[in-house]
């Protein structure tokens, strides 16, 4: 009987500590993290800043060694089979840096193609195809330093794909992008799955994780908290929705606090209140009561990642 194919990414008890200063105690960026990502899936890695997302990406990309535990890409250990892993993986870091601003996009991609050891003719053709694909063909011969942030991020993605990787690691690729650019970028990412590539996407944007991922792992403090279906993320987003309103009389605020599914009613620094909910449909109930009372300066907002973590992890008591 044939062995099943290895997972695209596998981490076992993966630990990475950093020694900030000689006297300080080591800080764990990854703490015995176990993670398996199947081939062909878009896997979201969701966590706040400092959760250990980038550390995991760097270990998988072979630019950082783990302190303990193992990590492999398509069955190849990232420490002992570095050369093989580097041919299989492409990494895209977020932000504006990481490109050669004085060169054109075409020059950038051709250079990176050579670093991935592609024959020159193949590299040229692939660079042209990728520029077309990410919508930069018309600006391919302009200096990258003249690009907008969104264009740079698309070029980052093209750079990450130039080596034709089977596993693509995207480290917070949409940070700082405007909503339209972020949506375009996500569309490109979903195309990668159709090509059979595996994508590991780190983000602190739950809506993004819900929109494009097949599964989402939540990490914090370097530990895996849970791996969830993205629909669960969507449920959290609606469950923990917030309602903000101004001009709310104190009596009405007190009544809102008594409504089922209302977790808290908080005074806002600039005046007004924020109503936090913890049950599906509760936000609608709050909105209705406010409008019935004549309060029209109202709005809803999705909960922050930290708030969801507080609700979900708090309920579980970190026993996940």
């Amino acid at each position: 009987m044939a062995e099943p194919p290895p997972p695209a990414v596998s981490a076992g008890q993966l630990t990475r500590t950093f020694q900030r200063t000689r006297k300080a105690a080591p800080v764990a960026a990854l703490d015995r993290l176990d993670l398996t990502i199947d081939a062909g899936e878009i896997h979201g890695l969701l966590g706040p800043n400092g959760a250990g997302k980038t550390t995991l990406c760097k270990i998988l990309a072979t630019v950082l060694l783990p302190t303990a535990g193992t990590a492999s890409v398509l069955g190849h250990d990232v420490v002992t089979s570095t050369a093989v892993v580097r041919r299989l993986i492409g990494i895209v870091f977020g932000g504006e840096r990481g490109l050669y601003g004085r060169l054109t996009a075409r020059q950038n991609l051709r250079y990176w193609s050579a670093l991935y050891r592609q024959p020159a003719a193949d590299g040229r053709a692939r660079a042209d195809r990728l520029l077309d694909r990410v919508g930069l063909a018309d600006r391919a011969d302009d200096r990258v330093e003249t690009y907008s942030r969104g264009m740079k991020q698309r070029l980052h993605l093209a750079r990450g794909l130039i080596g034709d990787p089977r596993v693509v690691v995207l480290d917070e690729p949409t940070t700082g992008l405007d909503p339209v650019a972020a949506r375009e970028f996500r569309a490109l990412v979903t195309e990668l799955r159709a090509e059979g590539r595996t994508v590991l996407l780190t983000t602190h944007d739950m809506a993004e994780a819900e929109a494009i991922c097949d599964r989402v792992s939540l990490i914090d403090g370097g530990r895996l908290l849970a791996t969830e279906d993205p629909r669960t993320i969507g449920r959290w987003l609606s469950t923990y929705e917030r309602v903000q309103a101004t001009g709310v009389p104190p009596q009405l605020a007190a009544q809102l606090a008594e409504l089922p599914g209302v977790a808290a009613v908080l005074d806002q620094p600039g005046g007004g209140i924020r109503v936090e909910t913890d049950a599906p449909g509760a936000a609608g109930l709050v909105l209705r009561r406010l409008l019935d009372a004549g309060v029209t300066a109202v709005g809803t907002a999705r909960p922050s990642l930290e708030e969801v973590y507080l609700h979900v992890i708090g309920q579980r008591g970190l026993r996940v």
């Binding site: 630019v63 050579a114 050891r117």
Partner: protein, 261 residues
């Protein structure tokens, strides 16, 4: 990595460096300084009625330029990658950093050697002095060996500067002392005796002596051992540079300081 793919990597890095230098004229400032230095040195020799030293005055700016570009351009290659945010992505590719550095340093060194042509033209056009080269073969071979040795030394510099927190101060302090130790203008034989042993561990001192001898009509003595000294010290630079890069990469992967080594 096979030899062929390594060569392809070197060629790609060389093309990249050439493209980058075209867009970064500030990195070529040393080539602008070379003719000015040539004017100064040639004016001094003319004023002193020492036309026999015109060859020295032409060689010195070239040697200074080769060293300066090695120090300031090649030496900063890795550091620039780090500041540009490209170093981590580069290390994640299958091409070793050493291959990239090799290709890029080779181009910088080759371009820096153009300063010899600049200096010669300044002498010819600006001062009406035609510097003869009685031993053109020796001159060309020495220049080639000098280029190779400079590239090797620059590789070691690139490794050193990426570790130094204040690389710029380090670089500045490595310029003028090495013009003296390398015998750029004043031959090592004319320096104080106590200084000469230190000069002899600098490949430039052997190279500049040989280049000056190649401009004189007399036969060039001990050619092969002297060329071997230039190349040997250059190879030591390569080895030190590559070993240093190995250590640096290992260290930053272990400590996680790649982005801020």
């Amino acid at each position: 990595m096979t030899g062929t793919s390594a060569l392809r990597g070197v060629a790609a890095a060389a093309r990249f460096e050439a493209a980058t230098l075209r867009r970064s004229p500030d990195d070529l400032m040393a080539l602008l300084n070379a003719p000015l230095l040539a004017v100064m040195f040639l004016a001094i020799t003319r004023h002193a009625h020492r036309g026999d030293l015109a060859g020295y005055a032409v060689l010195a700016p070239a040697v200074i330029t080769v060293w300066a570009m090695g120090l300031l351009v090649s030496g900063e290659i890795i550091d620039q990658e780090r500041w540009n945010g490209t170093l981590e992505a580069m290390l994640a590719t299958p091409t070793p950093l050493q291959v990239v550095v090799l290709g890029r340093v080779a181009v910088v060194t080759a371009i820096s050697l153009l300063s010899i042509v600049e200096s010669w033209l300044v002498a010819r056009v600006g001062f009406g002095v035609a510097i003869a080269v009685p031993h053109p073969g020796i001159f060309a071979v020495t220049l080639l060996c000098t280029g190779l040795a400079m590239a090797g030394t620059a590789t070691a510099m690139a490794g050193t500067f990426v570790l130094a927190r204040s690389a710029r101060t380090f670089q500045n302090s490595l310029s003028y002392p090495f013009y003296v130790l390398g015998g750029a203008l004043v031959p090592v034989a004319l320096l104080p005796g106590w200084l000469q042993p230190a000069c002899r561990v600098v490949f430039l001192s052997w190279a500049t002596d040989l280049l000056r001898d190649a401009l004189a009509p007399a036969a060039v003595p001990h050619l092969l051992p002297r060329l071997a000294a230039v190349l040997g010290l250059g190879v030591l630079g390569w080895l030190a540079g590559f070993a240093m890069l190995d250590r640096i990469l290992d260290r930053v992967r272990r400590t996680g300081t790649l982005a801020h080594a």
